[in-house]
């Protein structure tokens, strides 16, 4: 029983898939944001795994993961601020309540 790169990638793929399902199926904006975080997390696992197995000395993947974390932290900050702003106008955090872009 050993752990190699495929196992890690498989774990990340499954987490990503679960996150994808959540992001697609949920109506609650907060829930969608959380699913997005789950997907970002899966991507980070991939980055770190590749970093450990392929470029252990340069640690490139680890640095990418750091910046990916920065981006997703910024994303959740802005995203949740948007959710709050939408809540103020619509008194709801359901995504279906926001249809202004309808053509």
């Amino acid at each position: 029983m050993t752990v190699g790169l495929p196992q890690l990638l498989g774990l990340a793929a499954m987490l990503f898939g679960i996150g994808l399902y959540g992001a697609l199926s949920r109506k609650n904006a907060v829930h969608v944001m959380m699913s997005l975080e789950l997907m970002a997390n899966a991507v980070n696992i991939n980055l770190v795994a590749f970093s450990r197995f392929v470029t252990p000395e340069a640690m490139t993947g680890q640095f990418f993961a750091v910046f990916s974390m920065v981006v997703s932290a910024a994303e959740i900050g802005i995203g949740l601020a948007l959710v709050l702003a939408i809540y103020r106008r619509k008194k709801s955090v359901e995504l279906d309540a926001v249809q202004e872009l309808k053509g």
Binding site: G4, P6, F16, L20, E37, N41, V48, V71, L80
Partner: protein
């Protein structure tokens, strides 16, 4: 012996992460979902430790388990008017499920094909000191840009939430 202990730890952590993610999708309560997300994040931090990325593990705990989970909980609390609002029924989204499974299946198949050429884990990985040195030499400019991104996000978030006059 030295091989099996990390392997057992990995499978336990992977089970925790996947179980947490599934529970997060299965629960109807948004607050519970947040707690499950927190569990996934902590399990991921454990996996980073196994992969020798100590700094990332710490940042993962601080940023995801700390800040993101708390922020999410705050938003949930601010947008709940009644206790019952936390529980959201959700329709069975078969289309989304099919799409996500299709995607996951395809990627898993691709990984399976890649198994034979997968590299072995190198024995040694640099520690946190080398990470810090690299971070502030090679990656200095991206690091500064990242701080700028965070600043912009901060201002944006304040602008969106602050003030009733908008």
């Amino acid at each position: 012996m030295s091989e099996t202990i990390p392997a057992v730890a990995f499978y336990l952590l992977a089970f925790a992460a996947l179980g947490g993610a599934v529970s997060m999708m299965a629960t109807r309560n948004v607050v519970h979902a947040t707690v499950w997300l927190l569990e996934v994040m902590l399990a991921t931090a454990g996996i980073y430790l196994l992969l020798g990325a100590e700094f990332l593990a710490l940042v993962q705990v601080l940023v995801y388990a700390g800040a993101v989970a708390v922020l999410t909980l705050f938003t949930v609390m601010l947008t709940l008017r009644r206790r019952e609002d936390a529980v959201r029924p959700f329709p069975p989204a078969w289309g989304s499920l099919a799409l996500a499974s299709l995607f996951t299946g395809a990627v898993l198949l691709a990984i399976r094909g890649f198994c034979s050429v997968a590299p072995e884990m190198p024995a040694q990985a640099p520690g946190i000191e080398e990470f810090g040195i690299e971070m502030f030499t090679t990656w200095m400019v991206p690091f500064e840009i990242a701080s700028l991104v965070l600043l912009v996000a901060l201002i944006g978030a304040v602008w969106w939430t602050g003030g009733d006059d908008r």
